[in-house]
Amino acid sequence: MLNPITLSIIVLGGLGLLAGSGLAYASKKFISKIDPKIETILAALPGANCGACGFAGCSGFAKALVEERAQANGCISGGEGVAREVASILGGEVAGKEKRIAKILCYHRGASQTQFDYQGLENCRAAALLFGGNKACLYSCLGLGDCVEVCPLGAITLVNGRIEIDEERCTGCGKCVSICPKGIIALVPKEKKVHVLCNSKDKGAIVRKICKEGCIGCGICLKVCPEGAITLKDNLAHIDYKKCTECGVCAEKCPTHIIQVTSNK
């Protein structure tokens, strides 16, 4: 009989060798083929894993691209540059994707009239559970800053109780859009400057009572718009950004000044 030390070395070494060669064999046998294109595309993507493309991170998007389940311009954070690079790797042409940014469709952005004093968790989602929030208007921004927290780029800030979105930093990933419990953040084309800054679907009389700057659904903008780009639905004006030429007539005529030509800051 071997001495126990030699035996244990042999046994452990043998087991280790067995396990090691087993693993080596398995990794050869069960090799999962990775398309080299995937890695090249992955290198071209921003790597932020923001998920705005709708896939699980950049690698998921790269895989979907190679399998032709996604469009080359699907990467929202990357913008046109990345889209072109990806398209050249895939060997195709790509249409430029319209750059979009987040916009809060509420004139007050958190500073609107309240109907009761809320002393709960400083969190829009929690506040919205209580009678839809403490604001007089059901469609108002609650201003507690869930979007501020969720923004991966730090583009949203809370200044004196009002939410500010830095348009230069915003990549239009849409995380704030999905977290907002009131659903009042929208992705709008970056180059368009005329927006309806209200989201209220209440009737005009109610809006007048609870908010000075709310859409009362009067329809004046419809009549004055030379392009016919504005429609009225649920007591709320909508601008068709494809038709809008940014002439600004609607903003001038809007009695409650909620249609605004935002400056380019």
Binding site: P4, S8, L15, A19, G22, A26
Partner: protein, 193 residues
């Protein structure tokens, strides 16, 4: 058969690995933030525990006992468990990419989970046969997943609760774990083993 069921139930509830034996506390606290991830981790643990229980039992009974090398059991178990998890990962990636993605990072994490090593050692202490070891591993795995899911469910609600500042975060989590453990003491006496 009845014996196997008792072993299974004992590992699942009465001697729950997390809440009664206090094994695998790290993932229990670390991965119980969301029900979704807890479920992923739980599934991975059930799978690996059942497999590891059987394989370590076989290695112990067929290699270590005949060679009279019982003092090597801990290091051998670690070796076997680690390579087993690796093997499962490689094979799973090929056979079922969907499951592989669902388990994600949790699969390699299990390699260093003390609950698995504890399971192998308990098998030795209790002198389980191979079939008994399978049921013991399955029960222990499901017990682990159960504890993780309960904890995740509670923690998701705690997020919205008004917890006193001094108790927020880790403190309230540990208190919760303690209360859960107390609750599981209610199962003692259900099965004598």
């Amino acid at each position: 058969m009845a014996n196997l069921f008792i072993i299974f139930l004992s590992a699942l509830l009465v001697n729950n690995f997390v809440l009664t034996r206090f094994l695998g506390i790290c993932p229990f606290l670390g991965v119980s933030r969301k029900v979704e991830t807890a479920l992923g981790m739980g599934m991975a643990v059930i799978f690996v525990m059942t497999l590891a229980s059987l394989v370590t039992n076989l290695v112990y009974n067929l290699v270590l006992i005949p060679l009279n090398l019982l003092f090597l059991h801990i290091i051998t178990f670690i070796l076997v468990i680690a390579s087993l998890v690796q093997l499962v990962e490689i094979v799973l990636e090929k056979i079922s990419p969907a499951l592989y993605r669902a388990l994600g990072i949790y699969l390699p994490l299990i390699t260093t989970n003390c609950a698995i090593l504890g399971l192998a050692l308990l098998n030795v202490i209790k002198g389980h046969s191979a079939i008994q070891a399978i049921f013991f591993g399955l029960g222990a795995g499901i017990g682990f997943a159960l504890a993780l899911l309960i904890m995740a469910g509670i923690r998701e609600r705690l997020e919205l609760a008004d917890v006193p500042v001094a108790l927020q975060g880790a403190a309230i989590t540990l208190i919760t774990a303690g209360l859960l453990s107390l609750a599981f003491m209610g199962f003692s006496g259900l099965v004598k083993l």
